[in-house]
Structures are given as structure tokens and as C-alpha cells.
């Protein structure tokens, strides 16, 4: 097909714009990678943008030999694993019954869950509840109150609904119980959705910082996100929870901050090729209303 000259100009313009978007999107990331490998003098004189200057890996060695960094890093791993398991189990326990159209009270129960998506108790009542349950300074403060994402649960429900009923009916004929069907038929067939949900929840837990920020005062319990947060906002006073007075005194160099940021996002980058594929299909599933 012949193209008009206007359309040819548009296509050149389009490719230029999109290249520019890609550049702007990736720039901050490459900038911190470059800074993390540069020496402080070059960063301070504003010479580092996309390529390291005064190549230096000393800071990496320094951060990686910081015991507190590793304690916090390990905490993040533990919180992510425990949180993801709890979230997955709870979501399955809701999504499976709600996927059964024959279930009496299904509409009401769905509304009961969906309502919490749009109205929540607010910051302070949540804080009062969690602290009065004695969850402060414990893993439960961050993995329990935010365990369920109703949005994710609805995606799972849609997936379960699309499993052909015939498969389950055959199992009922063979005398399987509901639990038997769930474990022997439904869950093995749902591996793709379980993998997607696992990644959804794992990324959320990995990136979470605010609950730890308000509920933790013990440095040994901080996730790495708080370690990083206190570095970035190091010069400022905070509530007393989250950050301590000692690290308010130190001005931390851009080089050290960049190294910490790179180390924090590294696991996300390593799984990125997989997560982006799963996430896209997850979002698509979510858009199909059940």
C-alpha cells in the first residue's frame, strides 16, 4: 500500500518520540547504576550521567560487608516469603468458594470483600488495632493486615470459574470431597494463575516499606526498604519509629545511596523478564469480569 508523505513524516516522528520515552524511562535507573560505580568526586562535580567515572567498586564491598544491611536484606526475604505464602493461601480460600455460582450467599460475600477495596478504616484506626493486638515490632504487623488484595482475589476467582465443571463433576462421581477436588484437580490446573499471584504478592511484599516504618522501632527488624529510606531521608527527623536519632546526623553520599538502591532492586530486575510476562496476562485476566 502506498503511504502519503504526511504519514511517512508521522512515522519518523513517532519512532523519535517513543525512543525519547524509552530513554527518559530508563535514564534514572542507568544513572544510579553509573553513580554506584563512580567515585564521589565525579558525582559531586556533576559529571556522572549514564557512564561511571572514576570506576570504583569499593562502596559495593563496603555496603556488602555492613552487617546491618545483610540483617535487613535477610528480613526482607523472610517477610516476602512468609507474606506471600499467607496471602496466597488466604486468597485461594476466598476465591475458590466464590467461584462456585451455586454457593448460597455468594453475592453478599463478594460484596463483603469488594467493599473493603473502596472503604477502609484509615491510617490511625489501623495503627491502633495492630498495636493493640501486640503486633508492633513483629513480622505479623506487616504480613497480616495487608495479606489480601481483593483485586488479586477477583482475578483468581475468574480463573477458577473458567475451569470446566465437567472435570469436577467427574470427580464427584468418583466420590471426591470438595477439598479433594480443590487439591487434586483445581489447584494443579491453576498453576499459571498461582504463579502469577505469587509474583504479584511477592513484588508487593518486597517493595513494602510503610507498615515497617510505622510499626518497627527495632533496627534489627527493618526490611531493606527502611534501611534505604533512612539513607535517603537521613538528614530529617522522623517519628521516632522507623529512624533513629543517630543516623540523622550523617549526610550520606550519593554513591552509597546508589549502591543500596541497585542492590535493593536487583532481585526485581532478575525476575523482571518473567514477571512482566505474567503481570501482563494477570492484568488482562483481571479486566475480564466474572
Amino acid at each position: 500500500m502506498k503511504q502519503s508523505w504526511q504519514y511517512k513524516i508521522f512515522r519518523v516522528f513517532n519512532i523519535t518520540v517513543l525512543m525519547f520515552i524509552v530513554f527518559v524511562t530508563l535514564f534514572p535507573f542507568f544513572n544510579i547504576v553509573a553513580q554506584s560505580f563512580s567515585s564521589e568526586a565525579y558525582i559531586n562535580s556533576g559529571q556522572v550521567s549514564l557512564w561511571p567515572k572514576g570506576f570504583n567498586v569499593e562502596t559495593y564491598k563496603q555496603i556488602m560487608s555492613d552487617t546491618m544491611f545483610w540483617i535487613n536484606y535477610k528480613n526482607t526475604v523472610v517477610y516476602t516469603v512468609v507474606g506471600t505464602i499467607i496471602s496466597l493461601i488466604l486468597s485461594t480460600m476466598i476465591a475458590y468458594p466464590l467461584s462456585k455460582t451455586r454457593l448460597k450467599g455468594r453475592r453478599f460475600l463478594t460484596l463483603f470483600f469488594v467493599f473493603t477495596m473502596f472503604f477502609n478504616g484509615g491510617l490511625i484506626p489501623n495503627y491502633v488495632l495492630v498495636t493493640s493486638l501486640g503486633f508492633g515490632n513483629s513480622i505479623w504487623a506487616i504480613v497480616i493486615p495487608n495479606a489480601i488484595s481483593v483485586f488479586n482475589m477477583l482475578i483468581m476467582r475468574t480463573f477458577f470459574q473458567n475451569i470446566p465443571d465437567e472435570l469436577e463433576e467427574a470427580a464427584i462421581m468418583d466420590g471426591s470431597s470438595t477439598f479433594g477436588i480443590l487439591f487434586k484437580i483445581v489447584l494443579p490446573l491453576s498453576k499459571p494463575i498461582l504463579a502469577t499471584m505469587m509474583l504479584f504478592y511477592a513484588v508487593t511484599h518486597w517493595n513494602s516499606w510503610f507498615p515497617a516504618f510505622i510499626f518497627f522501632s527495632d533496627k534489627e527488624l527493618f526490611p531493606v526498604s527502611i534501611y534505604l529510606r533512612n539513607m535517603i531521608k537521613g538528614a530529617e527527623a522522623t517519628v521516632g519509629t522507623g529512624a533513629t536519632a543517630a543516623d540523622n546526623m550523617v549526610q550520606i553520599s550519593a554513591n552509597i545511596k546508589s549502591v543500596t538502591m541497585v542492590l535493593t532492586v536487583l532481585p526485581i530486575l532478575m525476575v523482571y523478564p518473567y514477571i512482566q510476562k505474567y503481570f501482563v496476562s494477570g492484568v488482562m485476566l483481571g479486566s475480564v469480569k466474572g
Binding site: T25, Q35, S45, F119, N120, G122
Partner: protein
């Protein structure tokens, strides 16, 4: 006659419910624990809002000490800071709606014009990346990129402009905040539109080409109407979440120097409640915001049902 019939019916339906519970007890027992969980951790705090009307003392009763009525509501109505944070919240929410809502649509349309699938996938994959970064890392990057000796200021200096201490100036906060939001959501927000675009019937374009419509006319008359239902649904969802502007990001990016434009309702609630310990006062402000939010959601859902026959519940 009528009455006995009704009673009979209700007995039948009750026994019907009972038999279905007996039959499906395993399904109900699965959902029981999550329901209890939800009552404690989601509905519990909703009830906990009672402390907006009762004086709360940290360490005291979790439902407060004594009834004070609307005292805390009167307090914020007479608090000049409240009006400031209220205005800031609405301005930021409005800017996000008019800038970061339409941007992914345009981005999806531009991607749709690419001939090379490889290049398209490359642009898409790159554009999703910021969505997966922790908001703490995002804030860290913003501080680095906009630092006085950072790349943006170096560029300004090389063009002969003065350096700007972006993060300390209230007049820059909104621009920075909206740009960061745009940076995080542009690619991710385009996914659903791209899906809708692939669903448009190719024959429509074929027919338009035969009629001599150029690409621009095809976009106006076929492509945009094709994704319009998706746009409307997402617009309604966005209106429903109007006030949710990303309070964690504000908390990380602002500082006392930029409170003037950066402080929003949620960050004010955080400072009043958790930093200064005025739990009841903070709860009252938070409850006020939640109620406005709920009205927006219900309104958006009503609109959605009227316009698209599609409702959230």
C-alpha cells in the same frame, strides 16, 4: 391464605438454605477463616473510627475514653492547615486525572502505529520497568536525578541556566510529583488499551482503506471508537479513586520546606496522628476523607451502570 403461603415459602427457603449449607459445608468452612480475618482487620478499623467522636488516649481503651461528639470535626474546620492540605489534595488529584489518565491512551495509540513488532515489544518492556520499583527506590532516584549536582542540573548549567534545588522549592513539587507518577504509570497503564486495540476488527480498517480514508481518519473513526468502552470504564474507576494520589510517595518526596504545596490530607493525618499523637483528631480528618472517597466511588459506580451497563458490584 397469603400469609400462610408466605410462611410456608420462607420455611421452604430456610430449609433450602440449610440443605445447601449442609451440602457445601466444606466450601463455607474454607471461606470462614478469611471472613473472620476481614471482620477483624478491615471492618474492625472501620468501627475503630469511633475514636473520631471519642477522646482517645494512647495506651487507653481502643475505643476511646469518653464521648466528645463533633469536637474534633469542629477542630479541623477551624484549622487553617486543614484547608491547605484539602486544596493540595484536590489540585494534585485533578492534575493526575487530566495528565496521567490520558497519557497511556496516547502512548498506546503511538505504539499501535509501529510496524516492527520487535521494536514495539522493546518499548513496552522498557516502559513497564518503573512500575516494579519500590516507591522508596523511586524516591531515591528522584532525589539523585534532581540533586544539585545531578544530571538535570548539570544539563541546565551547560545550557547556561541557574541550578535549581528542585526538592526544596514548593513551586516545583507538583510538577515533580505528576512527572514521577507519569513516569511510573505510562507503560503499565497502556496495557489494557493495547489489549483493546488488538481486539478491533481488521476488516473495518480494510473497508476504510477502500473508501480512501487515511491513517488519521482511520484513527479518529475506527481506532478511538474501538477503545472507547475501555477508556470509559477506566475513567470511571479513576474518578472513584480520585483522592488516592499515592500518599507514600508524597511522604517520601516532601519536606517541611515544600509543605505549602506538597502536604496532602493523608500526610497531614499521619503527622497529626502518629507523629504528634493526636489520634482522635487525625482519625476525624481521615474519616472525612474516606467518606468523600466513598461518595466518589458510589457516584462513579452509579455513572458506570447508567453509561456502560457495567458496575463494580
Amino acid at each position: 391464605m397469603e400469609a400462610t403461603k408466605k410462611v410456608k415459602e420462607s420455611i421452604i427457603s430456610k430449609s433450602h438454605l440449610w440443605t445447601s449449607i449442609k451440602k457445601d459445608w466444606q466450601l463455607y468452612s474454607l471461606i470462614l477463616l478469611p471472613v473472620i480475618y476481614l471482620i477483624i482487620f478491615k471492618y474492625g478499623p472501620m468501627f475503630g473510627n469511633i475514636i473520631a467522636f471519642r477522646r482517645f488516649v494512647p495506651g487507653g481503651s481502643i475505643i476511646g475514653e469518653e464521648w466528645v461528639g463533633l469536637q474534633y470535626f469542629n477542630m479541623f474546620l477551624n484549622d487553617p492547615t486543614f484547608y491547605n492540605v484539602f486544596a493540595n489534595t484536590f489540585i494534585l488529584a485533578f492534575l493526575l486525572l487530566v495528565i496521567t489518565f490520558p497519557a497511556p491512551i496516547i502512548f498506546a495509540l503511538l505504539l499501535n502505529e509501529l510496524k516492527s513488532q520487535l521494536f514495539k515489544r522493546f518499548v513496552q518492556t522498557a516502559s513497564y520497568l518503573p512500575h516494579f520499583f519500590s516507591v522508596v527506590v523511586v524516591a531515591g532516584m528522584v532525589f539523585e536525578v534532581l540533586a544539585l549536582n545531578g544530571p538535570v542540573n548539570s544539563l541546565l548549567a551547560s545550557w547556561g541556566f541557574e541550578k535549581i534545588s528542585f526538592m526544596q522549592l514548593p513551586e516545583w513539587f507538583r510538577t515533580i510529583f505528576v512527572s514521577v507518577d507519569l513516569w511510573q504509570t505510562l507503560g503499565w497503564g497502556a496495557i489494557l488499551y493495547l489489549a483493546a486495540l488488538t481486539g478491533i476488527n481488521e476488516e473495518l480498517y480494510e473497508a476504510a482503506r477502500i473508501d480512501g480514508a487515511n491513517r488519521w481518519k482511520q484513527t479518529i473513526h475506527i481506532t478511538i471508537p474501538g477503545i472507547l468502552p475501555t477508556i470509559i470504564v477506566l475513567l470511571i474507576l479513576n474518578i472513584g479513586n480520585f483522592l488516592q494520589i499515592g500518599f507514600e510517595k508524597v511522604l517520601l518526596l516532601y519536606n517541611p520546606l515544600t509543605y505549602e504545596t506538597a502536604d496532602v490530607i493523608a500526610t497531614y493525618v499521619y503527622r497529626v496522628g502518629l507523629e504528634s499523637g493526636s489520634f482522635s483528631y487525625g482519625t476525624a480528618i481521615g474519616l472525612f476523607e474516606s467518606i468523600i472517597g466513598l461518595i466518589l466511588v458510589l457516584g462513579a459506580n452509579y455513572l458506570s451502570r447508567r453509561i456502560t451497563d457495567n458496575s463494580l458490584w
